[in-house]
């Protein structure tokens, strides 16, 4: 990548971070280009699609969550590990208002720039779930797809201003429902 291109790329990413923090996942791409004082075509050249932009914005978070899942895979309590990881992925989605809907759509769209990351997150969650199930502390009538869907639902709750105050409490309720009663958290 040419030096000036690289500069624009980084600049756009920084401004996008700000604008998305302000306006959520459906922020205006035009606005981002405008604030970055860059042609609209430049934004499209670097991020040909909205998903591509989010992939770049979230890459760091995805990496961290992936590593965290690996670390938690050997934790003493598989149930606690699962819940701790769920809490983190919900928090990340919550940090990017509205992005959860984009992620959920991407999991069914192989061509989305977010597809691989979302599949990886789903797989990581599945591994933690399966381990807790093997341990006997997570209910067995749930699979990775269910878990991914519940993460979506919990993140969505946090995205709605009217519901956000309940999000933490409802996280406990839902997380509790995933665990078998002997190890309720």
């Amino acid at each position: 990548m040419r030096a000036d291109a690289k500069k624009n790329y980084e600049l756009l990413l920084g401004i996008a971070r700000e604008v998305v923090a302000e306006h959520g996942a459906d922020a205006s791409l035009r606005d981002i280009a405008r604030r970055a004082e860059v042609g609209l075509g430049t934004l499209y050249r670097h991020f040909p699609t909205r998903d591509a932009l989010f992939e770049a914005l979230l890459r760091g978070g995805f990496d961290a969550l992936g590593k965290e899942a690996v670390a938690l895979a050997t934790a003493e309590s598989a149930a606690d590990a699962l819940v701790a990881w769920l809490r983190q992925i919900v928090a990340m989605a919550h940090a990017w208002r509205g992005v959860i809907a984009v992620m959920v759509a991407a999991i069914d769209a192989p061509d989305s720039a977010l597809h691989a990351s979302c599949v990886a997150m789903k797989a990581a969650g599945t591994r933690l779930l399966v381990r807790a199930q093997a341990e006997g502390t997570a209910r067995s009538d749930i699979d990775g797809a269910d878990l991914f869907a519940l993460v979506g639902a919990m993140a969505w709750l946090g995205d709605q201003p009217a519901l956000a105050p309940r999000a933490d409490h409802l996280f406990s309720v839902i997380a509790g429902a995933l665990l078998t009663s002997t190890s309720a958290t």
Copy 2:
């Protein structure tokens, strides 16, 4: 209301029903007016806001759910009544893709045309919940606001094509989490 106005009102409502069924809650109002072969201003005259249009579209459903809640208030099992009603309100939201987010926003917006109906739905759910709690079959650390939020989350799940196949199963999981273990459904 003048006869021609009334005709336009009904016409718009019918077309809106179709268009919203096709495109969900963020359907184009312009498109509705166009398909109804009516000036865009006419649509705005009858439905000054998107919420006003949805209020008109959903009024029948809200009425039915309200009556159903009254009927269920004397059902033998308060727990079953609660779950049955939850299933119905989630189904109604599901029938109008995307409308749940509008409803959730309206509950915090006293000026929304949907506000009263949403408050009524929340209150109806709360009554069924309280009765089940009194009966000892619903957990006591949940209130009406939590219930409304969970309805939102469950309806949202059904709205996402990638998650919809899991919506029924997850409804059971979440509904089960609301009940005390002695009466798991």
